[in-house]
C-alpha cells in the first residue's frame, strides 16, 4: 500500500478513521512481480506541475485503475507510461519510470519499440478508415510482417482475444467505420494487441459506449489481464471496482492512495479517497 497524502484525515464523523493493515495489502500484491514502477514521477506542462512526484508499482498481469476528478493528472500519468506526452510541446517528465526494470525515460530509448510494447486505447474509438482486417494488420505490417498466412493468423488471434471475432469473421474486408461504437472499440483493442504489447493503457475506453458494449469491453479487460498488464483511466467508479485489481486515486496531481481495489472501495485509508468514491466531492 502506498499512501502519499500528507493531509490530516478526519472521518465523516469527525474522527480519524483507522487504516487497514498495510502489511496485509502488501502481502496480497506481492504474489505478482511488479512490471511498472514509477518513482517520483512528475510531469510539467511548462511551469505547471500536472503530476507531482508519483511513486507506485503496478503488478504484472493485473488491471490497475486510475481514478480521480477531472484535471487530477491521471490521464497525464497514463500517457507518461508510453511517453505520449513527449508529443506535447513544453511537456517535461522527471523521476524514474521503469517497465520490466528498464527506465523508459533513459536517453537513447527505442521509442518505436516502447510504443509497440505499451499499447494505448483511447476514449473514443478511432479505427483507421480501412477494412477491419487492415486495421489489425496495420501494426504488424509496419513491423515488417508480410507473410499472408502469418498476418491472417495474427488478425484472427487478436480479434478473438478482443472478443469480436465471431461478429466480424465474415466481413473482414468491410470498412471498420461500419461497425458499431462498441465493436469499433474492441477492434481498436485488437489493433493494440497486434503489436504484441506487454502493457495496455486505456484512457476511459468505455465512456463513449452504451451499457451492453461497456459490459463486453469490461469482460474483455478482465480476460486480457491473463496475458497483459492493463492500466485504465476511468471516471466510472463501478467500472474501476468491477475490472481492476489495484486502484490509484489521484487528486490535484498527487497520488493520494494506491491499494487493492477491494480495500479502496470498502475501507480506504485516506479521507480524500473516501470522500471521492462516496461522491462527497469531485
Amino acid at each position: 500500500m502506498s499512501d502519499v497524502s500528507t493531509l490530516p484525515e478526519p472521518s465523516l464523523t469527525g474522527r480519524a478513521m483507522p487504516s487497514v493493515s498495510p502489511m496485509a495489502a502488501a502481502a496480497e500484491s506481492k504474489t505478482l512481480p511488479t512490471l511498472i514502477q514509477a518513482s517520483g514521477v512528475s510531469v510539467f506542462y511548462g511551469q505547471h506541475e500536472a503530476v507531482k512526484s508519483v511513486s507506485l508499482g503496478i503488478p504484472q498481469n493485473s488491471v490497475c485503475a486510475m481514478i480521480g476528478p477531472s484535471g487530477c493528472g491521471k490521464s497525464t500519468f497514463l500517457r507518461s507510461i508510453n511517453r505520449l506526452n513527449d508529443l506535447i510541446p513544453r511537456c517535461r517528465v522527471t523521476g524514474e519510470l521503469l517497465i520490466g526494470g528498464h527506465n523508459i525515460y533513459e536517453p537513447g530509448i527505442d521509442m518505436v519499440r516502447l510504443r509497440r510494447e505499451v499499447g494505448l486505447v483511447f476514449q473514443k474509438p478511432n479505427p483507421f478508415p480501412k477494412s477491419i482486417y487492415d486495421n489489425v494488420a496495420y501494426g504488424p505490417r509496419l513491423q515488417g510482417i508480410t507473410s499472408r498466412n502469418e498476418l491472417d493468423a495474427l488478425v484472427e488471434d487478436c480479434l478473438k482475444k478482443s472478443a469480436i471475432w465471431e461478429e466480424v469473421k465474415d466481413r473482414l474486408k468491410a470498412s471498420a467505420l461500419g461497425l458499431s461504437g462498441g465493436q469499433q472499440q474492441r477492434l481498436c483493442i485488437a489493433r493494440a494487441l497486434a503489436t504484441k504489447p506487454k502493457v495496455l493503457l486505456m484512457d476511459e475506453p468505455c465512456s463513449a459506449l452504451d451499457p451492453i458494449a461497456t459490459s463486453k469491453v469490461e469482460d474483455l479487460i478482465v480476460n486480457l489481464k491473463e496475458q497483459y498488464t492493463i492500466v485504465i483511466v476511468t471516471h466510472n467508479m463501478q467500472q474501476a471496482a468491477r475490472v481492476s485489481d489495484m486502484t490509484a486515486f489521484f487528486y490535484m496531481g498527487r497520488l493520494i492512495e494506491f491499494d487493492q481495489t477491494a480495500t479502496i472501495f470498502t475501507n480506504p485509508s485516506n479521507k480524500q479517497t473516501e470522500d471521492y468514491i462516496t461522491g462527497r466531492f469531485g
Binding site: 478513521m17 467508479m237 479502496i264 472501495f265 470498502t266 462516496t278
Partner: protein, 219 residues
C-alpha cells in the same frame, strides 16, 4: 453522491435507531414481566412485536433500494450492509423477548413465582448490554462495542449457572419442574439476546474500522 442519497442514508440510520429503541423497550418490558410475574405486561409485550416486524421489512426494503440505486462504496457501503444485518438481529432480539413473555404467561396459573437471583442478575445484565449496543450503534463507538463483547462472557456464565441450579432443583423438587424449566427457557432466550447484541457490536466495529472481528476472540 447526490444530496438525496446522503439524506436517505441518514434517514435509514435514524430508522434503525428508532427500531433499536423499540426493541430495547420490548426487552425491558419482557424482563419486567418476568420479575413481576405480570401476565398482562407479558401480553402487551407480545402484542408490540408486530410493529417491529413491519419496521424490519421497511428498513430492509429501503436499504436494498439504496444499494440498487446508488451503488455506494466505502463507509456508506459498510453502513448499509451492516444496517441490513443489525436490522435482522434486532428483529430476532424482539422474537426472544416474545419467547420470554410467553413463558411468563405459562407461569401465570402456577402462582407464587419467584425469580431466581441469578436470572434477575442475568436479566439486568442483558438489558444493560442491549442499552450499550444501541448506544454503540447510534454513536458508531468502537469502545462501547468492545465493552458489549466482553459482557457476553458474564451472561454466558450466568446462563450455565442457572441451568445447573435448575437441573439440581428439578431432581429434588419434581413438583416445580415446570417453573424450573421455564427459568431455563427464559435464561436461554436472554442468552440469545446477548448473542445478538455481540453480533451487532461486531458490526459496529466493522462500520468504524472496516475490519471483520467476528470469530476473533481477542477483543
Amino acid at each position: 453522491m447526490s444530496r438525496t442519497f446522503i439524506e436517505q442514508l441518514a434517514e435509514l440510520k435514524d430508522k434503525l435507531a428508532r427500531m433499536s429503541a423499540m426493541v430495547q423497550q420490548l426487552v425491558e418490558k419482557a424482563v419486567e414481566s418476568v420479575y413481576t410475574a405480570d401476565g398482562v405486561l407479558a401480553r402487551a409485550t407480545i402484542a408490540s412485536d408486530g410493529r417491529i416486524n413491519d419496521e424490519e421489512v421497511r428498513i430492509e426494503q429501503q436499504a436494498i433500494g439504496l444499494l440498487a440505486l446508488h451503488q455506494p462504496a466505502a463507509s456508506d457501503l459498510r453502513l448499509i450492509t451492516t444496517v441490513i444485518k443489525i436490522n435482522n438481529d434486532l428483529e430476532r432480539i424482539a422474537d426472544c423477548a416474545v419467547n420470554v413473555a410467553q413463558r411468563v404467561i405459562m407461569l401465570e396459573h402456577i402462582g407464587d413465582y419467584e425469580v431466581p437471583a441469578d436470572l434477575k442478575l442475568m436479566g439486568n445484565t442483558v438489558i444493560s448490554m442491549l442499552r450499550d449496543t444501541v448506544k454503540a450503534f447510534n454513536l458508531i463507538d468502537e469502545s462501547i462495542a468492545r465493552h458489549v463483547l466482553r459482557s457476553d462472557d458474564v451472561v454466558d456464565a450466568l446462563y450455565h449457572q442457572i441451568v445447573q441450579d435448575m437441573l439440581v432443583l428439578m431432581e429434588s423438587e419434581r413438583e416445580h419442574a415446570q417453573t424450573n424449566l421455564a427459568n431455563i427457557m427464559i435464561g436461554k432466550n436472554l442468552e440469545r439476546i446477548a448473542d445478538h447484541c455481540t453480533n451487532i457490536a461486531e458490526d459496529v466495529i466493522y462500520i468504524y474500522t472496516g475490519r471483520i472481528v467476528r470469530h476473533l476472540h481477542a477483543v
